[in-house]
């Protein structure tokens, strides 16, 4: 579905200095995968995300989405329809003052006929569980609800991939749960490929695969268990491993034999009680 090859990106900042944000990323994301990207601030996660729907173009290397090269101008609108983007601040991505009008914004832009838009809007709102709010004003909704409207706005374009760049960073725990549940459901039920950027380990645990980024490189990747049990490497990448994984690692160092991949409290409790 998505194939990133030797992708480099260099920004020119306000003073004219060159900042290298991506130093040759290689990443293949098969259709239907739920992939989480984690990493310390400034690691290049957002930059990578923006390449996936051609908001940024490669300085060198390639980014191929569904067989379409993002660098080719003529592919731009197809790519943006295929790859939806959800950003961090729910307030700053809702365009219209009525929920259903906002969800209709994408399909209207690509010229979907009026009666069909209505159907798409209804389905998108149902998919995120917000049907009853169709006529509401977005500024009166909770953060989690606003973010689900933003997801519905993307869904109405019927994308194959949804890229979410720290969608829960500004939400309360309740809102975070809503978003993770919604995203997982879209992945399982509609088969939409999910690229999920997050700071929260518990959210990344839901993914099929976790990729760790640091200073514009992919350090390592694997299943959530593989990644989160590599305590030392996580720390080197500026991330904190889950507490259970850290304890397990310390115990192992002091000679206690433990199975390798312990990352949640429950798993730790289970082996220790044996």
């Amino acid at each position: 579905m998505i194939s990133v090859k030797e992708l480099k990106h260099i920004y020119t900042d306000a003073d004219g200095h060159e900042v290298s944000a991506l130093n040759g990323i290689n990443l293949d994301i098969p259709a239907g995968e739920f992939i989480a990207i984690i990493g310390a601030n400034g690691g290049g996660k957002s930059t990578l995300a923006r390449h996936l729907n051609a908001l940024l173009l490669p300085t060198s290397g390639k980014c191929i989405v569904d067989g379409l090269d993002t660098a080719e101008e003529k592919n731009l609108w197809d790519i943006r329809q295929h790859v939806g983007m959800v950003f961090q601040n729910p307030d700053n991505q809702i365009v219209a003052a009525i929920v259903e009008e906002d969800v209709a914004f994408g399909p209207e832009n690509v010229g979907v006929p009026g009666p069909e838009i209505k159907g798409r809007v209804d389905r998108a709102l149902a998919a995120v569980g917000m049907s009853e709010y169709a006529k509401h004003a977005p500024h009166l909704l909770s953060g989690g609800q606003k973010q689900r409207i933003a997801i519905a706005g993307v869904l109405a374009l019927e994308p194959r991939v949804i890229v979410l760049d720290e969608p829960t960073a500004m939400l309360d725990p309740q809102g975070r749960k809503e978003i993770v549940r919604t995203v997982k459901q879209l992945n399982k039920e509609k088969g939409i490929t999910i690229v999920y950027i997050t700071h929260y380990m518990t959210e990344a645990l839901e993914a099929d695969r976790v990729v760790v980024m640091e200073k514009g490189n992919i350090r390592f990747s694997g299943t959530p268990h593989e990644v989160f049990s590599r305590v030392d490497e996580l720390e080197k990448a500026g991330l904190e491993a889950p507490l259970a994984a850290k304890i397990a690692s310390e115990l192992r160092k002091s000679g206690i034999k433990l199975p390798k991949e312990i990352i949640t409290d429950e798993e730790l409790a289970e082996v220790l009680c044996r």
Binding site: N53, L55, W77, R80, Q81, G84, M85, F87, N89, D91, N92, Q93, I94, V95, A96, A97, I98, E100, E101, D102, A104, F105, G106, P107, E108, N109, V110, G111, V112, P113, G114, I117, K118, V121, K135, H136, A137, P138, H139, L140, A150, G153, V154, L157
Partner: protein
């Protein structure tokens, strides 16, 4: 529901007037304003006033609320009345006070002129009372579309209005939050003279503007990623459509205009 939008003076409802296409309402308001300028006799003014009251009645708006919308122009109305009363040339002097004298003609002219102003505002406020800002925006965009060839940016104007409607409540909330935060740190927004207060507002405006620009920047990226590329080739979920009631409304307003035109010029025409 739509009533959640506190902006503007929209008063939700389901009357005949509420259900009209926004374009019908905008055009009918313009035609009514033209008709006002056809009126010269008191009979025509009576007809215009009666028509306006009938429209308010049909729209089931509280009459008092609609009349209140006249408040901001009352000073202008009184001034208009006064100036015409005292300065218009006329024969029949009603009374004199020092060097000022009021004539029959002056008084009539003054009353008519102020009536014109009030009717104009009354009728256009029915438009904004019965049409939500969003629908009004759609109507304006649709009406301006033919003028695109001569450079009227119809879609862009409508888009800006849409975004403004969306973000005004957000920015108000933010202003409130910043104000509270700064009050907690000892800022004072409510005392001192006007200049002092304006000065105190400055530390409020700076963070507000910075935040507004950041929002605008993020919104632009979000819009682009949702395939926004201007008005070209864009469709709408709710296409505007003239229905039976719109034709009925147009018929009525044209009949009114024809009647007023006849009252003004008809007798002259018959004499020919």
């Amino acid at each position: 529901m739509l009533s959640d939008i506190t902006l503007g003076q929209y008063f939700p409802g389901n009357s005949f007037i509420h259900r009209l296409d926004p374009r019908t309402k905008i055009l009918a308001t313009l035609i009514y304003i033209i008709a006002i300028f056809f009126a010269d006799s008191f009979l025509s003014y009576a007809i215009l006033t009666g028509f306006a009251l009938a429209v308010i009645l049909i729209s089931r708006l509280p009459l008092l609320m609609v009349l209140k919308s006249l408040k901001p122009i009352m000073i202008i109305v009184v001034l208009t009345l006064g100036i015409h009363m005292f300065t218009a040339p006329g024969e029949t002097v009603l009374f004199t006070w020092k060097f000022l004298s009021v004539t029959q003609e002056g008084l009539e002219l003054g009353v008519k002129m102020s009536l014109r102003l009030m009717l104009l505002l009354l009728f256009s406020s029915v438009l904004t009372f019965t049409t939500s800002p969003i629908v009004l925006t759609d109507g304006i965009e649709s009406l301006l579309r033919p003028f695109k060839k001569i450079g009227v940016p119809a879609h862009e104007l409508a888009m800006m209005m849409t975004i403004a409607l969306r973000f005004i409540p957000t920015l108000l909330e933010e202003t409130d939050r910043i104000m509270k935060a700064q009050t907690a740190r000892g800022a004072d927004f409510s005392s001192g003279n006007l200049l002092q207060r304006a000065k105190n507002m400055l530390p409020l405006l700076v963070p507000l503007f910075i935040s507004a620009f950041r929002r605008a920047d993020e919104l632009a990226v979000a819009m682009e990623s949702r395939c926004y590329r201007g008005g070209e080739g864009r469709t709408r979920m709710h296409e505007l459509l003239y229905k039976g009631i719109d034709y009925a409304a147009f018929g009525t307003i044209f009949a009114l205009t024809a009647l007023l035109a006849f009252l003004r010029w008809g007798t002259a025409l018959c004499a020919l």
